[in-house]
């Protein structure tokens, strides 16, 4: 017996070692493949944006070359000033800022107030009303588009900023949902303590709830900003007067201007100018952007 053991043990060990090596090799290959895939996917996502940025500095002749070139032969910074000559960027920026800021204020104020009502008070039909709120999220915008346009047309709001700003003062279902979920997580004891100290409902809301809900409020602010800044269909329908154009519409008109169809380098410069503020906000508030996306997937 002992002799058999002596001869077999090294063999088993050898086999185990070989298996171990093989597994480690597989693991390394797997990891390499994984990172290779990640790099590949990143290139797919970044290439169009990188090219947009680079070509915004290129001379026009270089933009249409095949195969495409990625580095400007000469850095033409005047592409940006040239693009501004075709397009009243300053005015569009002003219009976009007005709409964005006033929508933001409305969204923040109305959504937190309504969410507080849903989260902290009991009243008849509350749950049924909240169900309706969630259902409105699934109502296609196409159904609302025409009657709302006709109504605004009737009261003379077409060619004003009102149709783009006013609705935000009545609470957006999605923001209310986010905020309510957050309010529900705040312990009731805290509110009871404030109540015992004699705070009114409005003081509790403004001085206890709102400061505590800051994370949710930042997410809503970012979503609201992004929404107004990027909005295309609203300004397209309501702001026909060229003086009222937003950046999104200005950029669209610039691209479709007769004779400008071929000015790719200037189009890219104009696009970069519109994209930059969003990217800056994104990189400043990355965490909240990701949270915002997650909240829409939240199990509540």
């Amino acid at each position: 017996m002992t002799t058999v053991n002596n001869t077999r043990q090294p063999y088993i060990l050898e086999q185990a070692r070989r298996r171990d090596r093989q597994r480690r090799l597989w693991q390394i290959c797997g990891r390499l493949g994984l990172y290779g895939l990640l790099v590949g996917v990143s290139l797919w996502y970044m290439a169009p944006l990188f090219w947009m940025f680079m070509s915004s500095f290129m001379p026009l002749e270089q933009v249409g070359i095949f195969p495409p070139e990625w580095i400007p032969r000469q850095w033409q910074f005047h592409n940006y000033t040239d693009a501004l000559d075709f397009w009243d960027f300053g005015n569009s920026l002003k219009n976009t800022l007005i709409i964005t800021i006033f929508s933001l204020i409305g969204d923040l104020a109305s959504s937190t107030i309504v969410a507080y009502g849903f989260a902290r008070f009991r009243f008849p039909f509350r749950d049924a009303l909240f169900l309706i709120l969630l259902a409105t999220l699934m109502l296609p915008f196409a159904v609302r588009l025409i009657p709302v346009y006709i109504a605004y047309n009737e009261i003379g709001w077409v060619n004003t900023f009102w149709p783009l700003i006013a609705p935000n003062y009545f609470g957006s279902a999605f923001y209310i949902f986010i905020c309510r979920q957050f309010f529900l997580g705040i312990p009731q004891d805290l509110l009871d303590a404030a109540k015992i100290d004699g705070a009114s409902e409005f003081r509790i809301f403004t001085q206890v709830m709102v400061p505590l809900a800051k994370p949710a409020i930042v997410v809503i602010a970012i979503l609201s900003f992004q929404n107004s800044w990027n909005d295309f269909l609203g300004p397209l329908i309501y702001l026909q007067d060229a003086k009222l154009h937003t950046l999104a519409i200005g950029l669209y008109k610039f691209q479709s201007l007769p004779g400008q169809g071929g000015q790719y380098h200037l189009q890219m410069a104009a696009s970069v100018m519109m994209v930059m503020p969003v990217l800056i906000v994104f990189f400043m508030f990355q965490k909240q952007f990701i949270q915002g996306a997650n909240l829409s997937g939240m199990k509540g």
Binding site: S110, F123, P124, A142, S271, I290, G297
Partner: protein, 317 residues
């Protein structure tokens, strides 16, 4: 959200309805405050949801060009749409292609990317950011860039194809490829579903995988028997959100092709938009009928998914 909808619906059942006169004075006071706080939303829902919902239904039976008062036409709009508007069927077909393709892309690719990032990779935040950035870019700018990416002569995508020895494609000049081009472009927004899936994956307790490993489950078995079942609520939500959004695809198509070539990219909302805002005289009644048909289509899809979810969505606890 959709799961919230479900739990809200369940909560409603079997709850004794409270009546105002049964409430104690203190509860009445509480209820009054609650209603006061939600008043803005109640006004909003009446003005921006209920009114347009009802109004577009009524308008869909009329002929209305905004200048003259609407004229009652009964079911004329609907019968014209169904029997005498080839572009309706064409646009419905194109939209179905987009819905099927883009929802599949967002769910399958989004899930795959989330799995990749969940495999304990280094620099997780960096990869996540790289995949997510394109989806925050304003859609007008994105459309202009993708017009160039999809350029037939010198576009980046054709260059990419030639790297693999494939022939160049005349994306927006070729009716057979134009819709495919939009599907390829729709990969841009996969980052959003990926982030949602990733958060879901990170919420799965490690113990489940350990237990499966001890039972000798391999990678594929763990994926099928542990990960996917636990992720069904998130998959359900993403399918729902993306189907509703995809049926209404408009902006990039309006900017990039306007429906050409030969109506190969004319989608449903583009068709509706043209009747209301592009053609003269505007046909608001006809357009409202189109909107209501779309609403019913989306409603049926949503209902089927919600009802079927009881069979395939798995809730823990």
């Amino acid at each position: 959200m959709a799961t919230a909808f479900g739990s809200q619906l369940r909560a409603l059942r079997g709850v004794r309805r409270e009546r105002w006169r049964d409430l104690s004075p203190m509860r009445k006071r509480e209820a009054r405050f609650g209603l006061l706080f939600i008043t803005p939303w109640i006004i909003g829902v009446l003005l921006f949801n209920l009114f347009p919902f009802v109004a577009s239904f009524i308008l869909s039976f009329t002929r209305y060009n905004v200048v003259e008062p609407p004229v009652w036409r009964g079911l004329d709009n609907y019968s014209k749409i169904l029997t005498d508007d080839p572009l309706f069927w064409k646009s419905l077909g194109n939209t179905s292609v987009y819905v099927g393709g883009s929802v599949a892309i967002r769910i399958v690719l989004g899930f795959a990317l989330a799995l990749l990032l969940n495999a304990k990779v280094r620099f997780l935040g960096m990869w996540r950011t790289l995949f997510y950035v394109p989806s925050v870019v304003p859609i007008v700018a994105l459309s202009i860039v993708w017009l160039y990416v999809l350029n037939a002569r010198a576009g980046l995508l054709n260059w990419f194809l030639t790297l693999f020895g494939l022939p160049r494609v005349r994306w927006f000049a070729d009716p057979d490829y134009a819709m495919l081009a939009f599907l390829i472009m729709s990969t841009t927004w996969v980052g959003v579903t990926m982030v949602i899936f990733l958060a879901g994956l990170q919420g799965i307790p490690e113990e489940y995988y350990d237990a499966a490993k001890i039972d000798g489950a391999n990678w594929l078995q763990r994926l099928r028997r542990v990960t996917v079942p636990l992720m069904t609520p998130t998959i359900y939500l993403n399918v729902l959100i993306n189907i509703i959004a995809a049926f209404q695809v408009f902006t990039q198509i309006f900017i990039m092709t306007g429906g050409s070539p030969r109506d190969a990219t004319r989608t449903y909302v583009l068709h509706l938009f043209d009747h209301a805002f592009q053609y003269l005289p505007p046909e608001m009644g006809y357009s409202s009928a189109l909107a209501w048909i779309l609403f019913m289509i989306i409603f049926v899809f949503t209902a089927v998914i919600v009802v079927s979810s009881r069979r395939w969505v798995f809730y823990q606890g």
